[in-house]
């Protein structure tokens, strides 16, 4: 029986531990996640006349970015429940893939692959908690593409170049912005090899990378023309909307590892950054084959490029595209490429020992997240009873959510119930609010009737926010900072279900129209 190396087993164990929280409960506390599920759900239910999806949603099947998660979930939903298919995507491509892809690039650049254990918690960074599923899946893809380019520069191979082309074509469908960043990194890689590699060979290696931009060109040009036109042009807008320099520093913590309200994760984040700093300076290695100069220095250039992108781009642009949280997306990639910049060669005993505190902190963090998702988010405080309430939702219902606990001390560093009503779409509802149309989506609701800001129950007005909805999902609240259930005791609304902290009301009369009453 072959002996399994301890370091391989430990790495595999950490990677497995990193996906365990995803299966710790029925619901995941990621902000945008339920809204993303609404796309494959609408695609699945559009053929069901009872759902009313076909008439309430518009469908526009064209080549658009950021749709890989939707396509994967939709297709696999014929083999397994839609939520399971989506969870599988997150587990494989967003969480497990990141440390594995990092181990790959570490090897390609002649570094110790075991350093990849430092990246395991990065998969549970801010972007995952916000539910940026496509982006999270794109980061490992980007790493693999740059790693393959580096390999191909050393030993060209047609099969590898075909692989680069296929992955490059796939990348914008995971996330457009990561494709742009990857192209920038590839350009730096090419420049670093200009003197050492003949131009023809450079062209052969990098040409397949054009597949992604080529596929996206029609969408991008159409978007440039169709969106709001900023004063001074699109390029000027990038600079006009940049925050103050100090804000770039202030953003770092939140967009690194910050899923929970409070400072508990800061210990993990600081241990990761401190370990990285020490490893960058600590250069003793076990004797190994010499690493080419380019492989030694290119990771610094790539990290420097990412720093420049971070400091050049704004946090948000509103025109011609509406992109939020823009520059901060490079933070995970920056951490990985700084890690690849450590001195090459296999870590000695001291080097390996330096990883232990971060590994222990990572394991403790992942166990905490597992328990939290199981007991807190899916427990009495969170989603317990939600299934029972949704079971009472009739097909074709038009559902809006009202949340009474926005003013309580948050548990997470985001409000995880904002899009809870989107789960109604998986149960055959026709409409769910709050809902902000998803840019670059194949499908969106044709209209979303008025709802209070973010479903805040304190702002709910019967005259303004009831029309157009047949059902109202209220998240109840007890203790300091709660606002009362705005529908409780009102004759216009009939309570049809209550379980855990969730109540479902059906519209019983005006201001709902007859069509709203189911």
């Amino acid at each position: 029986m072959p002996r399994i190396r301890t370091d391989v087993a430990l790495f595999a164990g950490l990677v497995i531990l990193s996906v365990v929280p995803l299966f710790a409960g029925h619901y995941l506390p990621f902000f945008d996640y339920p809204a993303h599920l609404s796309v494959p759900a609408a695609l699945r239910h559009r053929a069901d006349p009872a759902s009313g999806i076909a008439s309430a949603w518009e469908f526009d099947f064209r080549i658009v970015p950021n749709c890989l998660h939707y396509a994967f979930t939709y297709l696999l939903s014929y083999l397994m429940p839609l939520e399971t298919a989506s969870r599988l995507f997150v587990a494989l491509f967003c969480v497990a893939a990141l440390p594995v892809a990092t181990a790959f690039v570490l090897r390609v650049f002649g570094r110790d692959w075991r350093l990849a254990v430092l990246v395991v918690p990065l998969a549970w960074g801010r972007c995952l908690w916000y539910g940026f599923i496509g982006f999270c899946a794109a980061v490992p893809l980007s790493l693999v593409i740059v790693g393959l380019l580096m390999q191909d520069l050393a030993t060209p191979s047609r099969r590898r170049e075909l692989g680069i082309g296929l992955l490059a074509a796939l990348l914008p469908f995971a996330h457009f912005f990561v494709m742009v960043v990857t192209c920038a990194l590839a350009a730096v890689l090419a420049i670093a090899h200009l003197r050492r590699v003949p131009l023809a060979r450079l062209a052969r290696t990098f040409a397949p990378l054009a597949a992604g931009p080529a596929l996206m060109t029609p969408w991008f040009l159409a978007g440039l023309r169709a969106g709001p036109q900023p004063a001074g042009g699109a390029a000027a807008h990038l600079f006009a909307s940049r925050p103050r320099l100090v804000d770039y520093a202030a953003l770092l913590r939140h967009w690194f590892i910050n899923g929970y309200f409070g400072h508990a994760e800061d210990l993990l984040a600081v241990s990761m950054v401190a370990t990285l700093a020490v490893l960058l300076a600590y250069s003793r290695r076990q004797p190994t084959a010499p690493v080419p100069l380019a492989a030694r220095n290119v990771p610094f250039a790539l990290a420097g490029t990412l720093v420049a992108i971070y400091l050049t781009l704004p946090f948000e642009i509103k025109a011609p595209f509406n992109w939020w949280g823009m520059n901060v997306r490079v933070i995970p990639l920056l951490f990985v490429w700084l890690l690849v910049a450590v001195p090459p060669g296999a870590l000695d005993r001291v080097g390996r020992a330096l990883l232990i505190p971060a590994v222990v902190a990572t394991a403790a963090f992942l166990i905490y997240v597992t328990v939290d998702i199981s007991r807190t988010f899916n427990g009495p405080w969170g989603m317990a009873g939600f299934d029972d309430v949704l079971a009472k939702l009739p097909p074709g219902a038009r559902l809006t959510g009202l949340y009474t606990d926005y003013r309580q001390r948050p548990h997470y560093a985001h409000y995880p119930f904002h899009y809870a009503t989107s789960y109604g779409l998986l149960h055959g509802a026709a409409q769910a609010a709050p809902f902000i149309p998803i840019p670059q989506s194949w499908t969106n609701p044709k209209t979303v009737p008025a709802y209070p800001l973010a479903g805040d129950a304190a702002l709910f007005s019967v005259s303004q926010h009831a029309a157009g909805y047949s059902h109202f999902l209220v998240r109840t609240c007890a203790g300091k900072g709660c606002v009362p259930d705005p529908l409780d005791g009102k004759p216009e609304f009939a309570r049809v279900a209550e379980s855990g902290r969730w109540r479902l009301y059906a519209c019983a009369g005006p201001p709902c129209s007859a069509a709203d009453i189911k």
């Binding site: 004063a231 202030a250 700093a277 020490v278 985001h414």
Partner: protein, 201 residues
């Protein structure tokens, strides 16, 4: 090659020092605060004023609700119009977590100053809880940006805590504002206050 090998460790030490300097830099920049807003998305840094970024709409639109769609989000949001629409006297309820809501009257001036007074026989606290309701030149406000996604305008409002001492708050004004104005302050604390007002005749 020898010169390169000498430079490399120095460069590596510099990068290591820069990386080690990140946590103190974040603390210094104020990035260690919990910047989740009450609706779930982080708001730091503050939204950039949209009026300086987007060309004026070719046709002005009225902020009276008639130009809204998709959940009441403004389709022709423009910071200047919000600022203009805010100016005036507003009367309505202040809802707070401490007890009964009470009636208040707030006037936003076009000069960036505001006043706030109790609008019933007596109020349990001052309008903004802290300090007094006496008029003061220190009572200022500004609208600095729009969040068109959520349909609100954000800004600053200086609450006079005691003599010559102010405390800045970051109110969020719901859009559109014409005859009806809602805004809240301290929404991310345990003492959120919501103002639900209508324009005084």
């Amino acid at each position: 090659m020898r010169r390169m090998s000498r430079r490399e460790p120095i460069g590596r030490w510099i990068v290591a020092a820069l990386v080690a300097g990140v946590p103190p830099l974040v603390v210094w920049s104020g990035g260690c605060g919990n910047c989740s807003d009450s609706y779930g998305y982080a708001t730091c840094p503050e939204p950039v004023p949209v009026s300086v970024m987007i060309d004026p709409q070719p046709e002005p639109c009225e902020l009276d609700g008639s130009d809204t769609a998709d959940g009441g989000l403004p389709q022709c949001a423009d910071l200047l119009r919000v600022r203009v629409a805010l100016v005036g006297t507003w009367i309505g309820a202040e809802v707070n977590p401490f007890g009964q809501a009470f009636q208040v009257q707030i006037t936003f001036g076009s000069d960036g100053h505001y006043t706030g007074h109790c609008a019933q026989s007596s109020c349990p606290t001052s309008v903004f809880y802290w300090g007094t309701d006496d008029d003061s030149p220190l009572k200022t406000y500004e609208v600095t940006g729009l969040n068109t996604t959520y349909g609100w305008a954000v800004g600053h409002l200086a609450v006079v805590v005691q003599d010559n001492e102010t405390m800045s708050t970051d109110p969020a004004f719901m859009l559109p504002v014409a005859q009806h104005l809602q805004f809240h302050i301290w929404a991310d604390t345990d003492m959120p206050m919501l103002f639900d007002l209508t324009r005084a005749p």
